[in-house]
Amino acid sequence: MAVTKMFGASVKRREDPRMITGRANYTDDVRLPGTLSLVILRSPYAHARIKSINVEKARQMPGVVAVYTGKDLVDSLAPVPCAWLPPNSDLKVPEYRALAVDTVRYVGDGVAAVVAENRYQAQDAAAAIEVEYEMLPAVVDQEKATQDGAPQLYADVPNNTAFVWRLAGGDIDAALRDADVVVSQRLINHRLIPTAMEPRAAVAHYNPGSGELTLWCTSQNPHIHRLLMSAVTGIPETKIRVIATDVGGGFGSKIPFYAGEMIAVAISKDLGRPVKWVEDRRENFVATTHGRDHIDYVDVAAKQDGTITGIRVKAYANMGAYLSTAAPGVPTWLFGLMLSGPYKIPNISVEVHGVLTNTTPTDAYRGAGRPEATYVLERMMDLVADRLGMDPVEVRRKNFIPKEEFPYTVATTLQYDSGDYEAALNRALEIVGYEQFRKEQEAARAQGRLLGIGFSTYVEVCGLAPSQAAGAMGFQGGLWESATVRVHPSGKVSVFTGSNPHGQGEETTFAQLVADELGVPLDDVEIVHGDTGRIPFGMGTYGSRSTAVGGSALIYAARKVRDKGAKIAAHLLEVSPDDIVFDQGRYYVKGAPDRVKTFQEVAGAAYLAWNMPEGVTPGLEETHFFDPINNTYPFGTHVCVVEVDPATGKVQFLRYVAVDDVGNVINPMIVDGQVHGGIAQGLAQAVYETAVYDENGQLLSGSLMDYALPTASMVPTYEVDRTVTPTPVNPMGLKGAGETGTIASTPAVVNAIIDALKPYGITHLDMPLTPQRIWQAIQESQKGS
């Protein structure tokens, strides 16, 4: 069968038909006989001592099987673990119990758990549990939480400071001292709520006979969940199977290991019955991790000609009430290491205070640290341009790392693999028609219309690896990936990947890779993921790493298969393996293309094994664990054009141009989709989404009626283009595309709005740039004049 090259083809996503016709198998779709419904009663207060809990009334209610409090689970569950422990940061990990034992520390902290025959009964019983609280003062602002006299969350974490992490390259003091100008700004990168379409859920089924636990749950990394579940319950890893095949989005919020699934497991084990727990949306808002939430004090040293000579950042990162699984790594390594961006900045210093507050714990959220770093740099670039009277494009261009200098090591020690930053910038300027726009803007301003253009020239780190670096950063795991390629006797192929796509489309793109490597039809390749009972140990999907790292693992596994096949084909064709050519699924003799064995014939021969070459074992299956030598560094330029209504402060998006360079592209349509979704999320931070707590720690934006997720009508039409600069660190030359949109778009939008407001002398506003905030800023600017 003729097979054309799949790499580079916009194949439609094979996972979509089941997803969009309601035939996917999400955790809530798992229905086991005898399943009990679990409801977790959560604290309505941000900080309080639990004086008493009376569960008697709840126990007597119809359908209720059991009620548990924190004390009931202390023996069966170890605390919720933290698994990213940055060294040399004086890290303190406070005890995080699945259900609070004597103190609740955020609205949403678990207090008691009810299991009943159905969800309604469990919900009614939870409402009947009587908890007597003694209110304690709460603190939600991370900067205030570090001040003397602030309410203390833990006796053993002074000033609520869980860690102070520092990184420095060059001599920042000298750079600031010798600068022509120092531009300083306090920037708030506010808190966001990931809001995946599928809330978190778990079905725990402990079989008391075999001692085996099967756990269906919403996980981006099922093997990590298995390992941690073993650690907190004492059930051996060999007896735990975690299944997270269909997961309805995660954006980082399904990396962490949570109390919810721990409680479900403990109760299933206790009662010997399956237990299902499914968040409702309101619970999802408080019980699933949030993202971002930085306050950054930034000083940039620059010369008169726009050359940036140094950047100093002091950041206060809000960690929430406890340290979530990967949380300490996000505002430290994933933020600090990226503070050079695409620029040559010889002197960099960063100090990050990880602060505990009476809020929902934070952790990775699409981009995780890199959007925060990019926001700092791109906002500061505009402020430097403004101070020096330069065009913001020229300040960026002046500081770019030139393409000839790659691989390039920045002051934070990262070595960037490859790049051509000017090419992406030039392409974006060409698409947007920059010079023409500036003329239109001037004409519009003369009429009192507020047009603005904003740029974001970014670089990000993807393909999170290698394992040695993970170790140095205190990440309690490797950052390799695994793949098994199993060819069946008919020549059909099963691929078992340790990556766990949950919306990214790897059931399609991975099949494209394997179809090319083995020369088989796409439909002959199935991608198996998300089930620890079927796949080799894998690290999961996050940090735009699945294709760069997991895809490489399966390329190498497929090549091992192909090479073994060549030995078998050579034997069958009675020539030396060196004389075999493999092309599009056919092994033939060099110079004699009619002497041929198809891949399918070879697969059949491998399993019949009647006639195998000497020293070659039967079967056709190979596994590869891939640990890359470096990360990958996608980059690009995003440009946003807006008009602001001066009467209301409302922003209208006129254009959005994205030129990304993610290296080679397997499936352009899927990459476009990733870019589109990413821009929507990043843009939403700039103008729509914001998690708002009041002083008492109540989440005021705790529903989709208040928290403004963008809909299609709220975002512009995207003009997406690409430049292609392959990476040398993996066999495909690709870099990763899952987060570029989110990382790049936020500052592009903010910069555009601030540019539009330039006639009012406004140089900075903190996000989200809601109509009210813009209108107020305009009012205030006019008061002064």
């Binding site: 309101r282 009626m705 208040d706």
Partner: protein, 287 residues
Amino acid sequence: MYPAAFEYYRATSVPEVVQLLQQHPDGKILAGGHSLLPMMKLRLAEPAALIDIGRVPDLNGIQDAGDSIVVGATTTYWNLLQSDVIRQSLPLITEAANVVGDIQVRNRGTLGGAMAHADPAADMPAVALALDASMKVVGPNGERTIPASEFFVDMFTTALSPDEVLTQIIFPKPQGTSGQAYEKFAHPASGYAVVGVAAFVTLDGGKVQTVRVGITGAGTVAKRASAVEQALAGQEPTEQAIESAAAHAAEGLELNGDIFASEEYRAHLARVFTQRALSRAVAAARG
């Protein structure tokens, strides 16, 4: 997202609805359910009984009654959007119905439900005020008609008695040279009106004869902007006259404030959107 237990009754006639309301003082009428059911799922409302009027004959439909257009209480936004007679005589309704919620809400939500629920940020109360609608209600003592200007009492509170059901909304047909417009500043999350302004004007000899402005979202209850109306009535509706009249838009409003829009900002938006709605209504009247 799991409501507390409740009883469910499906009424087959208006008298039966009234009877059920008397039997179940803690009951609530269920029409489209797009306001009530979300509140029940959040357990913000826990009615002991739901009285479903969705299948009561004669409550659904739009009738041209000569001088007026009569809309049955269970008529959905979608029904309104499909109606030619509404689009021709009362384009304000079409315009406003088109920006209510989303397609799902417009398919299920009813005009009567919007009136009886009296959400302070709902669109339709402002429209009813601007069009001088009246509400026909039926109770144990028979039928009565309440003008829109007296119907909306406070946040989620109307002039309906607990044992009364709203059956019809009656809109007088505009006479003479008239224009209508609805201007809405929608909340980016909920889609409700942060401020919504419905304007109706008639012109006579180039001057404003009648002007009615209904404002929703800005205050605790939808209200007529009387000061605006007084300022513009009898005037030639120049841009300047409209602007100075609209400056009174927030007068008499008990303003709402929340994390998205403060009281001060809502007052400002009320002025801006009143001006915009009046300008468009006047332009429409001038043809």
